[in-house]
Amino acid sequence: MEFLNLENIHHSYFSSTQAKDVLCDINLGIREGEFVSFIGPSGCGKTTLLSIIAGLFPPTEGKVYIDGEEISTQNQSLIGYMLQQDYLFPWKNIEDNITIGLKIMARSQKTHKVTANALLREVGLVNVGSNYPRELSGGMRQRVALARTLAVNPKILLLDEPFSALDYQSKLKLEDLVVETLKAYQKTAVLVTHDIGEAIAMSERVFLFSANPGTLHRVFEIPEALQQLSPFDVRQHPAYSDVFQDIWKELESLG
């Protein structure tokens, strides 16, 4: 049994006029501490699958296991979820934004300030605890969102295109930071992205999905040599473009 297991996941969305299958027969396993990516054309249900793993809603059929425990809306595992935008609360200062998860879970109040400061240092921000989100740049805000996600010490991190709204420079820096931080904490992570390069640069395995309905099409193992490098250095490595070509061709063949 792997750390994260998906068994026969089917999911359909219902509207008053039709039922649409978005996910069909998904089976996969992810090791503890592994970083994987989900890529695929739009409409392949990547984000839906992420929400199901998070336990935000149950799949129409199938089961999700995290660390041996079955996940349901009643029994959510402790997951960290990063969205396309930071969604920091504009009316809370940075410190309160980071500790909101701890507050919700009613963990002890005293340690919050310490936790917030330590996490801010971890993500490369200092002396911004009492600032408000609007005073920070997009890249800094997404760093704060990362700190907020890590604050509750989640078992697994789900990243839903968290870099897509950033400028290219911030994106590259943040990719390095995320990989480095998750390695340091030995976190398991699933990244959903449109960006093949990003998927190769950050992950150990890339899961390619096809659309209508979303099915797992192929799994790519990223070469060992690339896995050791930071995302920025992966992009410079000679082996990078071969992997890129492989995935690109496969993605093209899906139409």
Binding site: Y81, Y87, I100
Partner: protein
């Protein structure tokens, strides 16, 4: 470094502000001065339109015999209570509707009807049901703003970006926590803007209520002045209402500045 472009810009701003204030003052003077002159030269009917000096004399008279404080106090109390009650109840109903989507679907057409109906038309019924006193007048001041508050605030609750709630859901937040941490604070700007509307509405409700039954208050003074054909009294009451309505509005703006300074 006295003449930097920045300094010039600041001076320009200051100058503009003075300019605006000056013209605002001029309009005020023209209004009252013109009114006084038109009345003095009898270009308008002095009996109906009175004049600033007569209104002022009435005002001094009413202040010195102590009756004005009583009337103003009563109306202010009724308006403020009606305003707060209307806003709180309206928000409370909005919370209940947000809590139960099914209930909100069921009640939707009734809200539309209640909103379209002129609430002041309920005045006579209120007075019979609650008795001809403060209570029915306050009820009127509240009733007039409840439904519109409910609709606007509920719409604001529903308009909050669901991704903010999603963030908290991933921390296993309860529905109440989501409401307290996201939905309510995100809706503060809208709630404040309904407060501004409600200030005006509550005055309408209370004054109409006083028209119908009261023996005290500014609405009573207006009706009384009308009945004895003392328009000095009517116009004085109007000016006092304008004055206090403006102050209430300013107070709401002050609260707005305090609450939502970071709600960008």
């Amino acid at each position: 470094m006295d003449n930097t472009p920045f300094k010039q810009y600041q001076q320009m701003l200051k100058k503009e502000k003075r300019f605006v204030r000056l013209y605002q003052l001029i309009i005020l003077l023209i209004f009252f001065g013109g009114w006084e002159l038109l009345s003095r030269f009898e270009w308008i009917d002095r009996l109906i339109f009175s004049s600033p000096t007569h209104v002022w004399q009435t005002f001094i008279g009413k202040v010195s015999d102590g009756s004005l404080t009583l009337h103003v106090g009563v109306t202010l109390m009724e308006t403020i209570i009606g305003f707060i009650a209307g806003t709180l109840l309206g928000t409370l109903i909005a919370i209940i509707l947000w809590w139960s989507p099914l209930l909100s679907k069921v009640l939707d057409p009734y809200l539309v009807i209640l909103n379209a109906m002129p609430k002041v038309a309920l005045g006579p019924i209120l007075i019979v049901a609650l008795g001809p006193g403060y209570f029915s007048i306050i009820a009127m001041g509240a009733l007039i703003s409840i439904i519109i508050t409910t609709i606007v605030v509920y719409t604001a609750f529903k308009g909050v970006d669901p991704n903010y709630s999603k963030v908290l859901q991933t921390f296993r937040a309860t529905r109440w926590q989501i409401f307290k941490e996201v939905i309510l604070p995100a809706s503060f700007p809208t709630i404040i803007s309904t407060l501004k509307v409600n200030v005006g509405l509550s005055w309408v409700g209370v004054i109409v209520g006083e028209f119908l039954v009261a023996s005290k208050g500014l609405g009573y003074l207006i009706i009384y002045g009308f009945q004895v054909f003392n328009f000095n009294l009517v116009l004085m009451s109007l000016l006092i209402i304008a004055f206090f309505a403006t102050i209430m509005y300013q107070v709401v703006e002050l609260i707005e500045k305090m609450i939502i300074k970071n709600n960008a």
